[in-house]
Every structure is written in C-alpha cells, then in structure tokens.
C-alpha cells in the first residue's frame, strides 16, 4: 500500500491482502491489490462490471480454488494467519469466512435443515436441543425467525426471494463465522426486501466483519463505513465511505460515482 492508503487503512485489521494478483489462465483479473478489512466495519467493494470485485472477494475465502483456470498470487491473512498456507483447512476457513451469493440459493430442504446443515457437518451441536437453539438463534440474527418459526419444516425454496436471502445469511451465521462476504446480495430482490437485508447488515455489523460487493452505489453509501473502488483489476481508492462519496481523491473514482463513467 502507498503511504496515503496506509493512513486510510483501518486499525486492527481482521483480514489483510498484500499485492494480491488473480489470473484466469493468462488474463490478469486482479493486478496487485493491497487492502485491510476491519472487524467493526462493513466494507463495500464498488466498481464497474467486470472490474474484478467478485474475483477479489472470492480470494478472501479461497472460493477461486474451485475455478480450474484461476491462480492467486500475493498474501492474504485472517487474524495474521496466511489463508493460502498449506496447513490451512479450507473447509474450516470457509466456515470462518462465510459467503452469501447474488442469487439466493437455499438447499431444496426444510428451513430448519438449511440452517442445521452447516453446524451438523462442523459438529457444533451435541444434541437435537442444541441444534434447536442454534437454528433459532441463527434465524433470529438473520431477522427471519418471527416470519418462519411456525413453519420450520416448510421447504426453504418456498420462501420469497428476500426471505430466501435472509435464510442464506442465517445459514452463513449458523457456523459462527468471523467474516461474512456478500456478493451483490440484493441484486435479485425488490426494494422492500433490499431494505430488510440492508437493515440486517446494519444489525450484524460489529459481530462479524462484513464485506459486500454492490453495483448499487447508494447501497454502498447506506450500509458501509469503508468503501473500496475497483477499476480494471486495480484498487483505485479505499477510504471512509462518507469521504469517498463526498470528496473522492482520485479522478477515476469521482467520474464513476458521479455517473461520468463512459
């Protein structure tokens, strides 16, 4: 990071990236990005389509490992520990760094099972009673409990789009993650469902480090405390959200957020 970027970086980062590059075959999709993500912040990644937001987000829990052509360079740490070290257990990592996708993708199982699945494979519940507690707590944190408590055995796919997305957030929460990554979590939702997710993000802040990719700048402005602007694989500017939206330092950031991007 440059000196200026360093000075804008949050103190006590939960995750750090240093000179991260991602290649798809010969194509360099991320060109040396360094950034710190803080525990008590919602961090938003913004930028035009194809600039590498999703690619970079997926490096934070090694989701790119599943893409055969993808190769990641550089260093990424979680609590100071290199997540690409050979000793890192990837299944464990993805529980600690959970992910919510653009399109809600509940399992075609009951609401209860959608939440219980993760804790079960991670051995977090010793009994049915334990599991009931985890399911209720997760659904409450996801802001869905009141709406589904009387129909936990209904299929998760029978819920509305906004409810499905909150179920997916509940599913990520159930395995007690430290970081939650969200890739355009509201882009398939109507404005009311979007507002509920944004309110939920607000409530989850502080308990989890949250990183959200959004193509909706108003959303970034509403939900995040820090904003990173990506362009053509570069991190152009990273700073306090209110500064980015009232007084960006870089011409490219300004052109993008004021709607002058050609």
């Amino acid at each position: 990071m440059t000196e200026e970027q360093q000075s804008l970086a949050p103190a006590n980062p939960k995750m750090t990236a240093r000179d991260v590059k991602v290649f798809y075959g010969p194509k360099e999709a991320i060109k040396g990005v360094s950034i710190d993500v803080a525990m008590d912040n919602v961090t938003a990644f913004i930028g035009p389509s194809g600039c590498g937001k999703s690619t970079f987000l997926r490096t934070l829990n090694r989701m790119n490992d599943t893409v055969a052509s993808a190769r990641v360079e550089g260093t990424i740490t979680l609590d100071g520990e290199d997540i690409y070290a050979p000793s890192m257990d990837v299944v464990q990592l993805r529980a600690r760094v959970g992910m919510v996708f653009q399109k809600p993708n509940p399992f075609p199982k009951s609401i209860y099972e959608n939440i219980a699945y993760g804790p079960r494979i991670h051995g977090l519940a010793a009994s049915k009673a334990d599991m009931d507690v985890i399911v209720e707590k997760s659904l409450r944190r996801a802001g869905l409990w009141e709406e589904v408590k009387d129909r936990l055995q209904d299929s998760g796919t029978a819920l509305s789009g906004g409810q499905q997305q909150r179920l997916c957030i509940g599913r990520a929460i159930a395995v007690e993650p430290e970081v939650i990554l969200m890739d355009e979590p509201c882009s398939a939702l109507d404005p009311i469902a979007t507002a509920k997710i944004e309110e939920l993000i607000h409530e989850l802040r502080g308990r989890y480090a949250i990183v959200i990719v959004t193509h909706n700048m108003q959303q970034a402005a509403r939900v995040s405390q820090r904003t990173a602007f990506f362009h053509l694989g570069d991190l152009v500017e990273y700073g306090v959200t209110s500064d980015i939206f009232t007084n960006p330092r870089q011409e490219r950031t300004k052109d993008y957020i004021t709607g002058r991007y050609g």
Binding site: M217, T246, K254, G259, Y261, G262
Partner: protein
C-alpha cells in the same frame, strides 16, 4: 469536466448554475441602483429596487425546487453533491443580500438633499462598489468552480470592514458637531452597516464556493478584523 452519462443531469446542473448567475446579477444590480438612488436622491429608482427584490425571491424559490428535484431524482455524489448543496445555501445568502439592498433603497426618501454634501455620503458609493464586486466575483467563482477567485473575494472583506469603520467614525464626529443631522446620520449609519453585511455575506458565499470546488473547508479567519455585528 467530463459529461454525465445521463445527459439530462448535465442540463439540470447547467440550469441551476444559470439561475444562480441570474440571481447574482440581479443582487449586484440592486446594490448599485440603491447606491445610485442614494447619491442622486432618486425616489423612483429606490422604489424600483424595492419592487425588483421580488424577482430575486422568486429565483430563490426556483433554485430550491430544482435542487430538491436533482437530489431526489439524480442522487448526486461527490462534487455534484457539493455543488447542489452549495447552490441551496448560496441562494438563501443572496436573497439576504437582496434584502439589504432593498433596505438601503427604502431609506433613500428619509435622507434629505442637503446631507448629500456630507463626507460619509461620498464614501458610501465606493464602499457599495467594493461590496457589489465581491458579490459579482463570488457568484462568478461558483459558475467557474474557481477556488482562487473565491479566495480573492474573501481577502477583500477587510476592505469593506475598513470602509465601515471609517464611515462610522466620520458619522459620529459629524453628529456630535451637527446635532440636527442625527436622524439622517442614523440612516446613513444603517446603510453603511447594510453594506458591511453584504460584504460578509459575499464572503460566506465565497467560502461555500471554495468548499464546493475543492472539497476542503477554509481554516478559520482571524475574527479580530471583523467589526462587531448584531445580526
């Protein structure tokens, strides 16, 4: 600066700037006419200044409406947002400037012809000239997003303040020596005070322009150079 992807947004911002330029031009003309009416003791011109003030108020209302529309429909960001907010604040200040010019014009009938020979009367037009140029330059700085020009306006505030102090001393001396002129001198004193306030308001506009253009607020100026004000 590059154009917005949405062309109508550019048109609306241009219209906002155009309205503010027009409002500034009218405020400037009001100050000049009020001073001229005072010098020539021209009651008709003074009445015209009072009547024209309604047009300044109307532009303020139009800018407010347009700015609210832009905020609601375009969600402006960064420099655009700073410009729209500055426009909103600037019009309310220019509206006050218009009121000061109107107040000066309203006093014209009360100031008898013989006092035109008084020394303060000879100082007031030049004082008014500096203040109206400050208004002119502050609004030009907004149209041109010219931070340097805004700074130059701010620097000139002390000239108006010095004028005021000088007019004040002259008038007080004159009143002591010619007690019969006290009522007229009081009017002149208020006029000088109004011009001094116009200078302060032009300075405020320039500070807003500086922020809109640069995103930086100016460091506080030394308040000891500014005369005490009640309003």
């Amino acid at each position: 600066m590059a154009e917005h992807t949405i062309k109508a947004f550019d048109d609306e911002m241009d219209r906002l700037r155009g309205l503010i330029a027009e409002m500034g031009g009218r405020a400037e003309a009001a100050i000049e006419s009020a001073m001229l009416a005072l010098q020539r003791h021209d009651r008709n011109l003074a009445a015209q200044v009072v009547a024209d003030d309604r047009k300044i108020d109307a532009i303020e209302a139009e800018v407010e409406k347009l700015a609210i529309e832009i905020i609601a429909l375009r969600a402006p960001m960064a420099n655009d947002l700073r410009d729209v907010i500055a426009a909103l604040k600037i019009v309310s200040v220019v509206e006050r400037i218009g009121d000061y010019a109107k107040n000066i014009a309203k006093r014209v009938p009360s100031i008898a012809t013989n006092s035109r020979t008084m020394e303060p009367i000879s100082l007031l037009p030049s004082m008014g000239q500096v203040a109206s140029e400050m208004v002119h330059d502050a609004l030009n700085a907004f149209s041109a997003r010219d931070a340097e020009l805004a700074l130059a306006v701010i620097d000139r505030d002390t000239v108006v303040d010095d004028f005021y102090n000088s007019v004040f001393r002259t008038l007080v001396t004159f009143m002591v020596e010619n007690p019969k002129t006290i009522s007229e001198c009081a009017h002149l004193l208020f006029i000088a005070k109004n011009i001094e306030r116009i200078g302060d308001h032009a300075t405020n506009v320039a500070e807003m322009v500086y922020y809109a253009a640069t995103g930086q607020t100016l460091p506080d100026r030394d308040p000891s150079t500014t005369p005490a004000t009640e309003d």
